[in-house]
Amino acid sequence: MTQRFDMTGALRFDLTRGRVSLGGVGARVVLPVEVLSLLCRSLSDAELSDFGHGLGNAVGKRVVERLGSRLNRVETEEMVEHLGGELALMGLGSLSVEYWGRAMVVSIVDSPFVFGDGRKPDSGDELLASLIHGALLRITSRELSVVPLSRVDDTARFAVCGQRAREHVEAWLAEGCHYGEVLARLNESGASV
């Protein structure tokens, strides 16, 4: 049975003390997205990746706390419910999971982190990929990679794959293949295993 994500009282604003907390535990800071974008642009790839992993780790931690012992039995819908709920509380957009064959694709819609022109994965999508990677790493404890595939309008897609598959995907994307073609080739490579 899918357990719905309950957001009641998740974000608290203590106006007397001037503090915002998530679940009454950790303190949060409400920042303008432009300021955060300037900050991310000034960071290197490693620093941006660490910044994203830090955010995702916190998200994964709360999901693990919510799911508890049922973590390995939950289905995709319930995982999307809780993981997407946590990202929504942070104001990072709406999360969904797509399966292209056996390839898993995570898409985020209406993310405020758009640092480029939106035609190709930019630093904003790199930040989101690091965030998703940190969260899934915390939740599943698997060695995985998250590669930005595409951005179409307000939808950013990320492929969840292994380390070796990451190299292929990046190579196909460098060749200019459409993300659909990339996912098709990924499935073909996986079938030969």
Binding site: T76, M79, V160, G190
Partner: protein, 403 residues
Amino acid sequence: MSLEQQRIEQLQGLLAKIKRNAAVLLEQRSHRQAVPGVSPSSRVAAGVSPSSHVAAGVSPSSRAGQAALSGAAPTPGVRASQPAQPAASDRPSESRRPTSDRPAQASARPSEPAAEASRALTKRPSQPAPPVVSELDEAPQRLDDELLMTIPPSAAPPAAGDSSEFELPPAPVPGEFVSEPPSDEGEPPPISTRQQRGDDSAHEELEESLGFGADGAEDEEDFSASSPRTPPPESGPQVTIPPKEDKEGETRAAPGTDSPTMEQVGSTIELDEPGSFDLELADGEPRPTPDDTEAQLPPGEYAGTYDASLRPPENVQEELRTHAQAASERVERSSSAPSSPLQSSPAPQVASTPALGARPTEVVARAPSTSSAPAALYDGAAAQAEPRTFIERLDAALRLGTS
């Protein structure tokens, strides 16, 4: 004698009286022509109006009849102011003109006696008739009323060129409304007759002069008593006809009475009381019961045995043998070779179709499979189970591209 015949006879009697009075009028007029200053035309036409013509049912061309019947004119005195127009009585349209424009003409009368006569003939209900009017100016009131009763309103005045012959009014149609004479007591008479009633004094004198007094009253009474009249709808309760005696002296019951007459009752024949008769039944065999109607089958002496009488006769044995042999030969020919029409047919599928009754020479059928092994084998189909949980699907995705 029917009602119509009675009325016709009465009318004929009245007509005879009118003729007699007209003769008297003509005689008196001939005497008056000797009097100076009096126009004979004005005297004749005095008080005559088309309405009186219609009411009287007499031809207006007959001046004697006009004079006799002119007393009940609704517009009296109109013609009296026009003495110089002897033919005015033949123009009914002029007589209907109002009299208000006539005094100027009347004042221009050339002679005093004529003017006097015109005043006398201008009768109004409020003015009594002057004594100078002779009896010739007065028309019998009762005669006019009676004729009003009998003449239908559709009667038109005859042509002016008719002679002094009087025409009988048509008999009233049965069921047609016939006005009753005005009664002395009770409801007032109609307006047309009320105006005439105002001139009773003048009319009475005219009646006396015409000899229509007591006799006319008696005739009227006889006529009214003998002729049943249909009362108008507004005249109150209807008059029932009293029962009359037939020739045989039997009294017929009037409609609506309760007691039937002897004719209606007739003679009653009483029938005898029905007696009780016993039905005679024929003495014989008792009636069969339903069980007895079932026919009994003959004993089974032929059951399981061959009846030699059912064997075909000897003379047809050879014929049956020949027929069976011909049938077998026909079957062999049809099975060995296709028939000629099928051979000439260009369609190959039709030529290859065996004829009916042909048997296949050899049938090769596939032996049914006795092994229980599956007919098809799928390589790699049951290798992996479909991932269900998120972790399983993530592991499946992570295995992609690892080769």
